[in-house]
Symmetry: C2
Subunit: 436 residues, 2 copies
């Protein structure tokens, strides 16, 4: 029987949990220092007490940047076995979290499979599952129905849940009045908005927040405060809808912390590159250093098919500037459900953004692997280069597909005998340099 509820409760009581110990080791951080950050809410360790196979990770701006992968079955992709393969492949590629966004069929067995077999953080968006679980249309659901689904997810071992608590009936008027180009593009946020519009009732996740906090405290579910009003295009970025919701998320963060419940705050979205750092600073200030979990930010709207790249740009700058958790974006974003290859491309792009940010913000040891790569390159040692590569198979396949016609001492076909590394190695060794 544990003598604490949440990781935050434990940290505040000075109890060193196995999860805090694990995270401290992974981050090469002093346990006391980490415990203080967890107690303050600056690091969230999303670890449901029922997710016993979890290898805990911490989320916080002073730690290594983490990435999340969205998966789950839907009407257009129903096969749970295929989806489980995607999950394990995502974990192997380095994802620290999986959000199960399943929206079709009986969702519970898959969710339970995840929390019983998968060692990474598992997140869900209960409002998606409400419609599916009850098999009733949105307008017919009650506030209690939504809360019961949160409890079910908590019992099933989910580590964090996205709840769109920050919009209210007032937001409906504001959205109508403010005339954003894209209104609300958050899927969960739009469902809450739609439910409020149709029923005329207040946002159940806002109204019954205290009851939700009780559930989250009981199971140690971290609340990921969803940003329903995150901008869906550059024109809507950093507008009053977004910032007013952020202010409310700051208030809700404080209420959760008062309840020993851990919090992450979700963030934009589509944001011009010059506004990304400012967005991170504002969130850090308004939400008192709570971990910031961003989707993107996507820095131009005109690249469907390449939004893993637009969001790698925004994500790298965001994570360098205070975001601690990046939700991956795939090339299929805005167009279709991602397939296995899209998922891989999205993960790699997110890992690049996260790693570039970790180097930039000086996470201890982050650059070591880059330095090893540089040493391998200087020696033209290709096997050592592949060992340092984020995706060794792809790197090897590209070089092997177009090896130089002649062997010039392990160059590649990019430069052949014109290889600068080859020339420099010879020059510095005092050797004759043949180019022709």
């Amino acid at each position: 029987m544990r003598n604490y509820t949440t990781q935050m409760d434990a940290a505040r009581k000075g109890i060193l949990t196995p999860e805090i110990k694990t995270v401290a080791e992974k981050e090469h951080m002093d346990e006391d220092k980490l415990m203080k950050l967890v107690a303050e809410g600056k690091v969230a360790i999303c670890a449901n007490k029922n997710h016993t196979c979890l290898s805990a990770e911490g989320v916080g701006s002073m730690l290594r940047t983490k990435i999340n992968v969205n998966l789950g079955v839907s009407r257009d992709c129903k096969d749970y076995d295929v989806e489980m393969k995607k999950v394990m492949s995502a974990v192997n590629l380095g994802a620290e979290a999986i959000m199960d966004l399943s929206s079709h069929g009986d969702t519970q067995p898959f969710r339970r499979k995840l929390t019983s077999e998968c060692p990474v953080m598992i997140g869900t968006v209960p409002v998606y599952d409400s419609v599916i679980h009850y098999q009733r249309d949105l307008a017919t659901l009650s506030a209690q129905d939504f809360i019961d689904v949160i409890r079910m997810h908590a019992e099933d071992g989910v580590d964090f849940v996205t709840l769109h608590c920050g919009i209210t009936q007032k937001t409906i008027e504001q959205i109508k009045k403010h005339k954003r180009k894209m209104n609300i593009v958050s899927r969960g946020g739009s469902l809450v908005f739609a439910w409020m519009s149709m029923t005329g009732e207040e946002n159940p996740f806002y109204e019954h927040y205290d009851e939700i906090l009780d559930i989250c405290e009981e199971y140690d579910v971290t609340i990921s405060l969803g940003d329903a009003c995150r901008p869906g295009c550059l024109a809507d970025a950093t507008d009053v809808c977004q910032i007013e919701e952020l202010v409310r998320l700051g208030e809700l963060t404080k209420r959760a912390w008062d309840h020993n419940v851990q919090v992450m705050v979700e963030g934009p979205g589509h944001v011009p590159l010059d506004q990304v750092a400012a967005n991170m600073k504002v969130q850090q200030s308004i939400c008192m250093g709570a971990p910031f979990y961003v989707l993107g930010p996507i820095v131009t709207d005109i690249a469907p098919g390449y939004d893993h790249i637009t969001s790698a740009i925004g994500g790298a700058v965001a994570a360098m500037s205070g975001a601690s958790f990046l939700c991956y974006v795939t090339p299929a974003e805005h167009l279709a459900l991602p397939d296995v290859e899209d998922t891989k491309q999205g993960i790699i792009a997110s890992k690049i953004a996260a790693h570039a940010a970790d180097i930039a913000k000086g996470v201890p040891g982050a650059r070591d692997i880059d330095d090893r790569m540089a040493d391998a390159r200087q020696k033209l040692d290709w096997e050592a280069q592949y060992e340092c590569a984020l995706d060794p198979e792809t790197a090897r396949a590209i070089r092997d597909s177009r090896a130089p016609e002649e062997d010039h001492g392990d160059t590649c076909s990019m430069c052949g005998k014109f290889c600068a590394v080859r020339s420099m190695n010879k020059a510095l060794a005092g050797e004759y340099i043949d180019i022709l």
Copy 2:
């Protein structure tokens, strides 16, 4: 008979050239304002007087960010027709410049074909061609041989030439002493270094700079001052070798301007993300606002196979912070000669970086296309979305390959009936929202 030598000379004399007129129109900039920037060297209009089919472009931090595509035949890819197809495809994808880095066979016919048929800026690196042109090994070439190749390229109509004028015999000692991880990774820089090492002579591009300026003035060839010491890995970034060369490039910039010769300055390279903006500021200061032409910057060394993404991150931040010209990087960087698909991926990634930066730095009208995309998305008007897309074919192919099983009013399979845009449009119209 024109009464000026270079665009800079004309601008200084108050002569409105057809090229300045063209650039002013393209950039929606007042002609007098542009003329002043050209006169000061803050904008380079790379326009060899023999490149008569050119549609002029300006390069400068206050203008739209331009991108360059490296192409050219080599021992491992000899077919000039294939290469010409790559060129025209690059132009169609939006490249504003092509650098012909051919390093095999008879290079002149292809170079002349480029300057007689291709409307974008053409650049070369004469030191590559020297070995090929004379068919003699590097150590046997004389300083005059190198200069004669520059003159040949100028006569052939090349708009800008990369010359590695900034390293000297002193640099050899510095490189040996400083023990960089990657020494010199600039291909042209390594050739100059190798020639200096083997002959013991001073850098011909530095020693005979005045003679080179005479040639460049005669044909209006812009000098792109190559950065031989650009960092080849994160560990070498912003080190004394790089910065000392930059200081020399600043001196050479001034000497060129005194000669009415236009200049661009080349920059890094591999740079940690937190150092990118600082690098741009230092260059702008040391080189008195001369346009900065960067390769990358690549923000992590560990992603071979994905360096179009690592450099899109660095390039976007660089262009937002002062760089005006991005050299594309392909997924094959560090591994192999790029093929047609790599070239396309590299161009798109560079265009994304350039466009994101243009929005961020407030280039007039840059965000208009993004706003049109947002309007199309809000209406779920897919044809209008494709019209705004950087790569309409790819966007269309992704959506069409995985269309929703059921039609829910033009959503896509990403969310199906859970589509936030669909829900919001219905909610704001006061309609019932069916989700199941």
